[in-house]
Subunit: 342 residues, 2 copies
């Protein structure tokens, strides 16, 4: 990660509320970048840990967020709407708010109800670990991550642009612009259903009469296939419950493909089985061999931003991302990348 | 890996028939250990590759296996029974035969039909890679792997003991002794069902309207959960078809657990969801935190070996393994390890 970010965003004052694994990693990286940053967590021991790592951690949320230019919201998903309301009440209207939660529709709707859509930009850095808490956080966990931000037309666009620039400069982020519903649909398949499958494989193994023999034979496929079943159970449950309808919808597509594999296996149909696996392998190639072409765009700095937001969402839906956003006099320039389809 | 193995097994002559990823890795390690070893593969280009890597690769199977003390059988699963018959016909009765296939009942039954149970020891090293062929093989792929061998009473025991010592010394193997049916049941859950789940997740993603957005958001859980869907489709199909009944049986247990997770999610039952994930997490802890206690045993070198084979199979069923086997005058001594249950 370069330190050029400290130039453009050097003067800003940031805060992170909810400093567990993800929020804590945001906090530590902002502090490392030389920003004036404060963290707050409802857990006293976590606040003391933050101080021990050299970061300001006042005793109250209100002290932590007062007079900040940007506040990142972390912590358990179900707490985000209430945290958002508290942080909004304690900050000026010009303070940009964003979150790092793993589902976006619920918190976006909460922001709507609270009248905060002009300055709340829903966000989701795509990174994680089996571990939890500030103790497991690091300055590098989010380095280079895909980081979803949800743009919206009108006044909200300014916050999206500014935050995009900040994330690129301070986290080397690939910012993926998506609507909240598109994010939750894609994340259901990219993250939430994989957690269900891992839980099912691990749970069945735990109950198996030959459990210890299974563990003795466990090589790559079992280790990889169960890894996220080791994440804290409550966090996983919150994530799934926060995106329930979409997760169940995507799960149905996955079990349909699984049923097809099982039917081919049951029938002893090698050709059908091989054909389905060839289809499955295609997505692995697409994942591993992705190449991108640069597709930069400019838009007027002022206006209702409708065309800009439409272009941004289409970019994200197509698997693209941003690695730059600069507002100059009269215009905004995006550095954008689209996957090349062969 | 130590080179002490070259002392005890220095004089032996080995062959590997079917030198793809696994067979090729056996071949390369045996050659590296200084053994007199020859490889054979029906594919001419593969034989030339072997020669280019400095290993003898005669033009016919019969030349490769003539006068050998041990022959390892690799290659596609469905070819193993026929390969076994050819190799048996071309070797002396004292030549120990083993295979490296991913299912064991079918090949064990073939050996029974061929009257080869006295000298064929079914085997399965638990290692692999998405890649295939001798080009992807390496001297280290199997280093330290769990390596299933199927012991049987009577004359077969001698081959099992001798091979156990060889694998420990030359591959640093943890030899897991199991019956062929127990292996196939455990491997169904430890390896084959994970391949089905990975295929289903990857296949559904490939078909998803938001496929490119899913790939843009794919972080650890999707990458890990689909990894083995990238293995050669035909190899995966052969593996599943070679263990069809047991795979479908274990799959039913996994989908039952998955249905339970989905029902809890559908009902919005956070407590039930968390409880099931806690159960799933337990097997991850068991996998990652396993500790072993040494449980060495001796048996008479001669006799029908029934007690010895029973003990060996129980050791494997309990998740244990061997790291040594030495036959001295009148007795056989195993170095054995059992998982410690807290």
């Amino acid at each position: 990660m370069t330190d050029r970010g400290t130039k453009r965003y050097a003067g800003i004052r940031a805060a992170v509320v909810g400093t567990g694994l993800i929020g804590g990693s945001v906090l530590l990286r902002l502090a490392e970048s030389g920003l004036d940053v404060a963290g707050w967590d409802p857990d006293l021991a976590t606040r003391e840990q933050a101080r021990a790592r050299g970061v300001a951690a006042p005793d109250t949320l209100e002290q932590a967020v007062a007079d900040r230019d940007v506040v990142f919201l972390g912590g358990p998903l179900p707490t985000l709407p209430r945290t958002l309301a508290r942080v909004a009440a304690a900050t000026a209207p010009g303070c940009v708010l964003t979150d790092v939660g793993s589902t976006k529709v619920e918190v976006a709707e909460a922001a709507d109800r609270l009248g905060l859509t002009d300055r709340f930009v829903p966000g989701h850095p795509m990174a994680g670990a089996e571990s939890a808490g500030l103790a497991a956080a690091s300055t590098t966990l989010l380095a280079g991550a895909a980081w979803v931000l949800c743009p919206a037309p009108g006044a909200a666009t300014a916050g999206f642009r500014w935050l995009t620039g900040l994330l690129v400069e301070l986290f080397d982020a690939r910012v993926v612009p998506m609507s909240a519903p598109a994010h939750d649909s894609a994340a259901a398949l990219a993250s939430h259903v994989p957690h269900l499958l891992a839980g099912a494989l691990a749970g069945a193994a735990q109950r198996a009469p030959l459990r210890d023999a299974v563990l003795a034979l466990a090589a790559g496929s079992f280790r990889d296939g169960t890894r996220v079943a080791g994440t804290p159970a409550e966090r996983t449950a919150n994530m799934l419950l926060g995106n329930r309808a979409r997760v169940l919808h995507e799960l149905a597509d996955v079990t349909e493909f699984l049923d097809g594999l099982a039917a081919a296996l049951r029938a002893g149909d090698a050709a059908a089985l091989t054909a389905r696996y060839a289809e499955a392998a295609a997505v692995r190639s697409a994942l591993l061999d992705r190449r991108y072409a640069e597709r930069d765009r400019e838009f007027p700095a002022e206006g209702d931003h409708a065309a800009e937001v439409t272009w941004l969402r289409e970019l994200g839906d197509a698997g693209g991302h941003l690695t730059g956003c600069r507002v100059d006099t009269g215009s905004v320039a995006y550095t954008a990348w689209l996957p090349v389809t062969d």
